[in-house]
Symmetry: D2
Subunit: 411 residues, 4 copies
């Protein structure tokens, strides 16, 4: 067991930190967009990120990236995440980052050329169209209602999606549609690559949401008689949900990394405020209730960080990381929300104002307890796995004690 | 970064698990003592532990141990901890375990022969006499009141100690006494090795406490004109608190490992109960509120485990682990208390009874939020380190945002 | 709306407070019993309580009590509860107190003479035999397995009960048994008065439990061919669970009152300790983290108190108090546990020792989150009532906003 | 003790509820302002409120109000608060409501005519200018830096204020300024009535804040050589902080009432969503983890409500309500934040969108844990009062137990 970081990763993380401090944070004041920064600002930051040699760190070198595995990404994405604009500048923000990772694994050579390359180059954006309005597929895949019917020369997709991040302005979409009677054990649904100019792909209302950093926001989409050719299928027919799992576990984890960066920044802002401001005859930083908040946030950040590292290692090793991924998601999502909340409390009125980024962070980070699996859904999944694991445990946990006479046990 | 466990450690942990399941847990019903199991039971279990080749795993092979570093101990002590009697059987329970670790580092060859050898062999018990009743040294070392005065041919120690775990029945004590005017920066106090038959060493009342697994309990001790020879000094004169730090960080961590084992056992008992018991038409394990408790406990156990691993790696690497050690202590102590509490709630009336070990665990584990540094003391220390670290940070956390015009930041 | 207390109630509460301070608390050191204080101590305290004119305050004056309604009891029982022995001294401890309250409402004149009178006089103890071991009736009444069959000249009861508080040493029991095919809507079960010398009533093992203040402890009971005459039926045949509800809501509330007293005492002990003890250059009471604990406990105590008052008023008024009773039970049970836990933390090592009553309180109070309906059971019931109440609400909560265009809502 | 509500208050609350449902909530979709609804919408709603006979319910009938005491306001303001626009419609929103209440108590007849009358009629808005930027008066009054110097024919005020709610657009301000050397025991500062057209009163930047319902937002204000005549003094010279206390306790409580309404609406939205939406084969409302959130919110709402009632009664009775007011503020502010957070979690993605008002509520309600005394400031104050109260308690809390021999206490 060894937690040491390769020196090249440490050096890279330090370069990202400097880049964010010097280039990205100063640009935050120009981020006025209701649904992500305006395209000009995004392009400017991406050019700077590329010039700094920090672009698409998660993508292979062949495609212009740095080829980091998830452990390497842990170090780099946390730093990038200290500004909401950092991951955009490095082109490692959701949903493009997760889409690139999945495409690199399962796209055909032609799909790779046509979709992945421009995505990795920052020339196009993408979206992942899985979630549906009630009563369709939310947390529960078996409720998927969008269908793809085989027709002469291809498929016709029909259905409605919502909360599709980045749909507005995306060059293409990855669409989950039902191609079988039943969705069971990861079979029955298929992923399709759909160009944005397909007339059957109709982006509707962009929903006003508590989080607004993602370019294009979260949109409603209608698929109406959307015809695609057979080569639009991503991977194999019927395996859509298996690929979604392939995409989701790492994508969820990179979200954790980036939000950890946001929370750390909030924590640092709070400490700087507490160390500088007087009250009741002491610095805030010397008051016990403030110290308690600082310490609790330090613990929340560090437990989050080591959980991320461990899950990254599991995924890098190809081990089963389902339970670890769920535990990390729940813990990190709740911990980083607590950290930002405490930072705002420490900063008082200032923290509720636009003079710090805390109120913005408070809004952006809230949604992470809901998307990529709500905390409740992951808890349900964790509990089921825990119970199942005990069912096959070699020995009961309490044999002797239960047989013991009561007297004396606490006597 | 690599979380893999050497195969010999995994194998050893599996052997410890089997030993605890087969030998130690069946003996729990015979543990009736008010202050630890009776000496006969302890001796029987230690003989079994030695016969199984699992004795003093933390001690060097030269002294009959297995020579595990702290990462190895993480795996083994968690397993041993699944029974309160497990660490006693392996002779790796507090306070002897921490005393052995410190003696192995700083004892003179003669002290090693006289004190460490019998301790490692299980032939003697020991105690660590630092804490004093108010207004003496509790969490704050500068309040140490026990003094050692140089006299002809040695030193005379006077003072009062309390909550000295294992003093009753110990063969010797390690006593912290003031030998300078002021206690500052780890200087001014000295550790002495005091034999139990020294007439100046007087063990008084054994205090009835919420935790009662430690042999000898927690005693009040008076040192009255306690004369010791110069070779009673452990390490160098004046450096007592520096050694205490050397002892405390690993000793605190091994406590975390053992309590993690206790909490895991409680969790397993609760799952077994929930999986077997019906209520309101479902298994308890299928009810959402029970699943939430199971998932939260799984997360508490896993975050605790990775925090322990990380601090163990830091200490094994000789890195500064003070903040990590405090964060791990606070997190683990509180997490394991929550796990045991939830386990009791899941088991209902049965959980409050002596028919499971949960009520016993609930009592034993409570004190860990207080000793080895109360949660509040560690939080204070963590916050001070956090604030200090920011004071030397290269860049403020919020420069651009604070300069930004308010409009647009959230607009 | 008027929170003022009648002056005679305030005066009575002050007298109870003085009695507990002067008579009961000094007797605590003699409470060594594993299952309640020994009978001699209990008798001595009851004699003192009677001599002070404070006996059975909840019982009508006709039976020697003070005839307090639940609002009056709120004031008096909180004071009595500041010692675990206080309610015993005033003969208003569970389960006798709840049994008296129920008997006074539904016993026949003959039953009143034979059972209630000696109970109110402290001459006999009683128990309430409803709970059964799995798979019988725990939280879910429909699982009741104890049966009463009509036979010539009476009934024959068969079944097993457990966690029957006070069964050992009781003069009689109130036994819940199935007398119909199905238990629905409060019908199908009947309560029987069973004398302790009935050969079919067999008290077995007294289970060792985390709480041990109740005289007689918590016992397992077997009913084997237990014959009773027709006049053993309490109230009407088949209405047992309706009476149980009549008993449970007030009995649960008086538990809240007494535990509030225990928690207040713990809080006061902690404050006294914090105000007297120095650490890190300040009184503990001047340290922010300690102040936070003190304030949080003050809030927990006060929210508990007003919730109790409100539910007492509802019950005194004959209003439907089911939801209020559940909310008060959950809140108070969890709040008082937090208060005692914080008090122990503030007192540090001393708090874990027998030199304060805190460790004892910590154990006694834990079980209250489980009995009289576990927190989870009450939460389930509260949620169902909340959802049901909305189903009949005149207007949806969010009509206009849902119809609103998204733009502008957070603009 | 009597919790019953006078029938005329119940009837009035029902009328307010109907008015909010029928008139105010449908207007929410037109509330687009960055700093409160636009003046036209506000005027329209106030006209409707007046027409419904529900205007300024807290003001005396002589001034056109309904003359409700704080208990009456509890019922009415909670209903009004179920829409953020409700209190504006009834002209009982902060800061005007608190200013009216204070003016009605201490304004001279001339001040009453000139300032209070138009305020009560909705013809003018007002602000309360106390808070200052660091290092001035935030939570700690002794740091007040704005000064008023006596000059020929009046006073000259100089200083800077910030977070002055409603300053932009107000007709007049109540300004706190230092008129003595030291601020001690409520003496040394004075309140002045300053007209908005006074050239020395300069409203600067309106700070962008997380809460934006207040008309005029939160502004920075400079007072530069601001001359006022002697009759600008409100009440007596030097007693400014005593009046501030008079204003703050009720003003804080009416905030609690209104936010309780917001939280209750959020809770109702969540229940309606949970009762209607399917997932994993059940209604959300039938899933245990959702039920737990619903129950916890029900308890948070009810504990908040009874705490408000109790403090209202204390204030109506003229009793010392300082500690009660602080406890109620901390509890309610934190409880209502939890309720809104849970409601958003239950509603999932929908809850984070502008299609429900929850995201808006989440922002508006957050600041209440900071203004009117941050939770930490109130906790500090509560703890000090608790410690002080014990210092004069007749008897120590743990005399006998401390003297007891350790053995037997838990044995």
């Amino acid at each position: 067991m060894d937690f040491s970081q390769p020196p090249e990763i440490s050096a890279l993380a330090a370069r990202v930190r400097a880049f964010v401090d010097e280039v990205v944070i100063p640009a935050e004041a120009r981020d006025h967009g209701a649904h992500g920064p305006d395209p000009g600002l995004r392009a400017e930051l991406q050019a700077a990120g590329a010039a700094a040699g920090l672009f698409v760190p998660h993508v292979s070198e062949e495609l212009g990236g740095l080829g980091l595995d998830l452990r390497g990404q842990s170090a780099v994405f946390e730093e990038a995440g200290t500004s909401l604009l950092g991951p955009l500048a490095l082109n490692c923000a959701a949903p493009d980052e997760g889409n690139m990772a999945m495409l690199e694994k399962i796209a055909s050579p032609a799909q790779r050329e046509r979709y992945l390359k421009p995505l990795a180059a920052g020339a196009a954006r993408s979206c992942f169209a899985m979630t549906e309005p009630a009563p369709g597929a939310g947390s529960d895949p078996s409720m998927l209602r969008t269908t793809a019917r085989p027709v002469d020369g291809g498929w016709v997709i029909d259905g409605r999606k919502w909360f599709i991040t980045g749909a507005e302005g995306a060059g293409f979409a990855i669409v989950m549609a039902r191609t079988g009677e039943q969705i069971t054990r990861g079979r029955g649904a298929t992923m399709f690559l759909v160009d944005a100019d397909n007339p059957g792909w109709q982006v509707g209302r962009v929903v006003d949401c508590i989080d607004r950093v993602a370019p294009g926001g979260h949109a409603e989409v209608a698929l109406e008689a959307c015809f695609v050719a057979p080569d639009a299928i991503l991977g194999e027919e019927g395996l859509g949900y298996q690929y979604a799992q392939v995409r989701l576990a790492p994508a969820r984890l990179t979200h954790c990394m980036r939000w950890l960066g946001v929370a750390r920044r909030a924590h640092e802002i709070a400490i700087d405020h507490a160390a500088g401001r007087e009250g009741f005859g002491s610095r805030l930083a010397d008051l016990g209730m403030i110290q308690q908040m600082i310490a609790d946030s330090a613990i929340d950040l560090q437990t989050s960080r080591v959980m991320i590292w461990h899950t990254a290692w599991l995924l890098d090793s190809g081990a089963d990381a389902q339970k670890a991924s769920s535990m990390t998601k729940v813990h990190v999502a709740e911990a980083v929300n607590r950290v930002v909340d405490r930072a705002m409390q420490i900063c008082g009125s200032l923290g509720t104002s636009g003079d710090t980024p805390l109120a913005r962070f408070y809004n952006e980070i809230r949604a992470f307890r809901i998307y990529d699996g709500a905390s409740e859904t992951h808890r349900w999944s964790i509990a089921r796995r825990e119970v199942k694991a005990r069912a096959t445990a070699p020995t009961p946990a309490a044999p002797a004690a239960q047989a013991a006479p009561a007297a004396g046990v606490r006597g």
